[in-house]
C-alpha cells in the first residue's frame, strides 16, 4: 500500500479557526521507520497538526494519506485502529486505572481476549521499563512515569506511526537521557515517529529530518544541521515578532 516507502503524506493541509490560519498550506512526508522532528516557536501550529493527523480535528482543506489511504476527517478511533498513535502534550493517563490496565486498553486495539491484551501490555511495559509500576494507579505516578505510561500505552496499539508531543517537557536531565534512550529503542523497532520537541539537543540527536513550522506555515525542512543553521529558522525563534 505504501508506495516508495512513504507512510504518511500530507498535502496542502489547512486549518482555519475563526479568522486565523492555525495551519496553512503544509506539506509533509514521513517514510517507513523514519524519525521526523517537528519544531517551531510556541503557537506555530505543531500540536494542531498532530490533532489533524490523529483525527481530533478536521482540516479545512488539504489531504492526509496514510499507507496510501485518505484519512483526513476520519474519527480518531478509526485512525488509531489504522496504525497512528499519539501522545498528548499534557499527559492524559486514565487516572483511576492501574498502569497495567492503562496499557491493556491500548493493547485491546488489536486483540479481543483479556489474556492476550495482558500479554501484549506486559511485554511493552518491559520494553519501556515501566513494568515494576504495573499495579500502581496512574494518578499516583510521577510526571516522568506518566509520560512513559502514555508512550507505552500508545505503543500497545501496535502503531506504524507514533506522534510524540513534547514528551521531554518537564523532565530532569537524567530523565531526559532515559527518554531519549527509549526513543532510540522504539526507532530500532522500525516504528516511524514524528516528534514535537523544544529541547533542541534531543531533537537534533534523534531526528533523521527536521521540519520547522511558524505561524502555521512550513518555513524550513531538511537534515537537522542545515535546518538549525537556517537564518529563517533562527529568526523565527528569536526574531522580531513578539509572542507567537
Amino acid at each position: 500500500m505504501a508506495q516508495d516507502g512513504v507512510l504518511l503524506r500530507i498535502t496542502g493541509l489547512e486549518k482555519r479557526v475563526g479568522g486565523l490560519r492555525a495551519v496553512h498550506n503544509v506539506d509533509l512526508g514521513v517514510h517507513r521507520g523514519e524519525v521526523v522532528g517537528l519544531i517551531g516557536p510556541n503557537g506555530a501550529g505543531k500540536t494542531t497538526l498532530f490533532s489533524l493527523i490523529s483525527g481530533a480535528e478536521k482540516p479545512s482543506a488539504g489531504s492526509i494519506e496514510f499507507e496510501g489511504r485518505a484519512i483526513a476527517g476520519l474519527r480518531p478511533s478509526r485512525i488509531a485502529q489504522l496504525g497512528i498513535a499519539r501522545t498528548f502534550q499534557v499527559v492524559r493517563p486514565l487516572p483511576r486505572l492501574t498502569v497495567l490496565e492503562n496499557v491493556m486498553i491500548g493493547a485491546y486495539c488489536r486483540v479481543a481476549r483479556k489474556a492476550s491484551a495482558r500479554e501484549i501490555a506486559l511485554s511493552w511495559l518491559e520494553f519501556t521499563d515501566l513494568v515494576h509500576r504495573r499495579d500502581s494507579l496512574a494518578r499516583n505516578l510521577t510526571i516522568a512515569d506518566r509520560k512513559r505510561l502514555e508512550i507505552t500505552r500508545a505503543l500497545a496499539t501496535q502503531p506504524h506511526l507514533l506522534l510524540l508531543d513534547e514528551v521531554m517537557a518537564g523532565l530532569t536531565a537524567t530523565e531526559t537521557e532515559t527518554a531519549v534512550e527509549l526513543l532510540q529503542r522504539i526507532r530500532a523497532r522500525g516504528i516511524a515517529m514524528v516528534i514535537i520537541e523544544h529541547v533542541m539537543r534531543v531533537i537534533m540527536a534523534i531526528s533523521d529530518r527536521l521540519i520547522v513550522l511558524n505561524y502555521g506555515e512550513r518555513i524550513a525542512a531538511g537534515d537537522p544541521q542545515t535546518v538549525a543553521s537556517d537564518p529563517a529558522v533562527i529568526r523565527a525563534y528569536l526574531g522580531g515578532n513578539p509572542g507567537a
Binding site: 485502529q81 492524559r92 487516572p95 483511576r96 479481543a112 483479556k114 500508545a154
Partner: protein, 350 residues
C-alpha cells in the same frame, strides 16, 4: 510490620520462636487462600439463603418479608442498570425511569392484549427499551456529563407526558389495570431473583472483558480513549442498550407484579430515576455489587424510618443522598476498597 523482617534480622532467636513464626506464616498463607475462596463461598451462601427465603421466613411475616425482598431486588436491578452506564461507562443518566415506564407499558400490552406468556412478555418488554434507547443515545451521546444527565431527565419527562396524553395506548392518567402475572408472591420473587442473579452474572462477564475495559477508559477520559482506538459512541451505545434492557426488565416485572400502571408513577423521576442513583451511590459506583448492597440498605433503612415516623421515605432517601454525596461519594464498597488498599500499603514496603 513487613514480613521480611524475620530470621535475617534477629539471628539469635530461639528454635521455638522460629517454629512459632513459621506456623504463623503458614496460617497467613492458608488465610490468604481462604481469602480467595471466601468471597465465592459467601456469595454462594447468600444466593442459597435468598433462594430459599420463602421457606425459612416465618409464616406470619412471609408476605411482608417477600414484599421487602422484591423491593430490594427491584431497586438492585435498577441500580445495576444505572451503574453499568454511569458507574462503569461514566455516562450518568437521570432518566432511567423512561425505560422503566416504557417497558412497564410494553409488558402490559404484550401480556394483557396479546396474551403472551409473562416471561416472554418481560423479555420482549426489555428489548423494547433496548431498541428505543438506540436513537436516543445516538442523539444524546454528543452531550457530556451533567448535560447528558439532564437531557435524559428531559427525555424521561417527555415520555411521561406522552404516556399521559396517548390515552388510546396507555389509558392515560386513569391508569391501566390488569391481573398479576404470577399466581403467588413466592413465584414472582423467584422470577425476580433469577433475573437479578442473571443480570449480575452478565454484568460481571461484560465488565471483565474488552468492552468493560473500554467502558472504564471512556469514563476516565473519553478523548484519550478515542486516541487509543475506542469508538466511544459504539461502546456507549453498548452500555446503554444493556442498561436500558435491565431497567426495562425491572419495569416489566413491576407491571407483572403490581398490575396497575399510571404514567406519573412508573415514569416518576423521584421513585425510579433517583432511586437507582441513590442505591448505586450508597453501595459504590462502578462496583459490581454496589447497587445490590445499596438497595438492601436503602430499602431497610427506609422501612425502619417509616415504621418509626410513619412517613417520609422520600425524605430518608434525600438525606441518605446528601450524606453519602458529602461524606462517602465512593460508596460503601469504595470505602472498603480504600481501607483494604490502605492496610495493604502499610504492610508492604513502598
Amino acid at each position: 510490620m513487613p514480613q521480611e523482617r524475620n530470621n535475617a534480622a534477629e539471628p539469635e532467636r530461639g528454635a521455638s520462636a522460629q517454629a512459632l513464626f513459621g506456623a504463623v506464616t503458614r496460617m497467613r498463607e492458608f488465610a490468604a487462600l481462604g481469602g480467595l475462596l471466601a468471597p465465592w463461598l459467601v456469595l454462594a451462601l447468600l444466593i442459597l439463603a435468598a433462594a430459599t427465603l420463602p421457606f425459612w421466613s416465618a409464616a406470619q411475616y412471609r408476605d411482608y418479608i417477600l414484599d421487602l425482598a422484591i423491593l430490594v431486588l427491584l431497586s438492585a436491578l435498577g441500580g445495576m442498570s444505572f451503574n453499568l452506564l454511569g458507574g462503569y461507562a461514566g455516562q450518568i443518566s437521570f432518566g432511567q425511569a423512561a425505560f422503566f415506564g416504557i417497558s412497564a407499558y410494553a409488558f402490559a400490552l404484550l401480556f394483557q392484549q396479546l396474551a403472551l406468556n409473562p416471561l416472554a412478555a418481560m423479555f420482549l418488554a426489555g428489548v423494547v427499551s433496548a431498541v428505543v434507547c438506540v436513537p436516543v443515545g445516538l442523539i444524546l451521546f454528543r452531550l457530556r456529563g451533567a448535560y447528558f444527565a439532564l437531557s435524559m431527565l428531559a427525555f424521561a419527562e417527555i415520555t411521561r407526558l406522552v404516556a399521559q396524553e396517548w390515552t388510546s395506548l396507555t389509558n392515560g392518567a386513569a391508569g391501566l389495570l390488569f391481573s398479576s402475572a404470577f399466581s403467588d408472591k413466592a413465584t414472582s420473587y423467584w422470577v425476580l431473583l433469577i433475573i437479578v442473579i442473571g443480570s449480575v452474572a452478565v454484568t460481571s462477564l461484560l465488565v471483565q472483558s474488552k468492552p468493560g475495559a473500554y467502558f472504564l477508559a471512556i469514563r476516565e477520559d473519553q478523548d484519550a480513549a478515542e486516541a487509543l482506538g475506542i469508538d466511544s459512541t459504539r461502546y456507549k451505545l453498548m452500555a446503554f442498550t444493556v442498561s436500558a434492557f435491565m431497567m426495562g426488565l425491572a419495569g416489566a416485572f413491576y407491571a407483572s407484579y403490581f398490575a396497575y400502571l399510571e404514567p406519573n408513577v412508573v415514569f416518576s423521576s423521584v421513585n425510579f430515576s433517583l432511586n437507582v442513583i441513590i442505591v448505586t451511590l450508597i453501595g459504590g459506583m462502578g462496583r459490581l455489587l454496589g447497587p445490590v448492597i445499596g438497595a438492601a440498605i436503602l430499602v431497610l433503612t427506609t422501612e425502619l424510618f417509616v415504621h418509626a415516623f410513619g412517613q417520609g421515605n422520600v425524605l430518608m432517601s434525600g438525606l441518605l443522598l446528601i450524606l453519602f454525596m458529602l461524606f462517602m461519594p465512593e460508596g460503601l464498597l469504595g470505602k472498603l476498597q480504600k481501607e483494604i488498599d490502605r492496610r495493604r500499603s502499610l504492610r508492604r514496603p513502598v
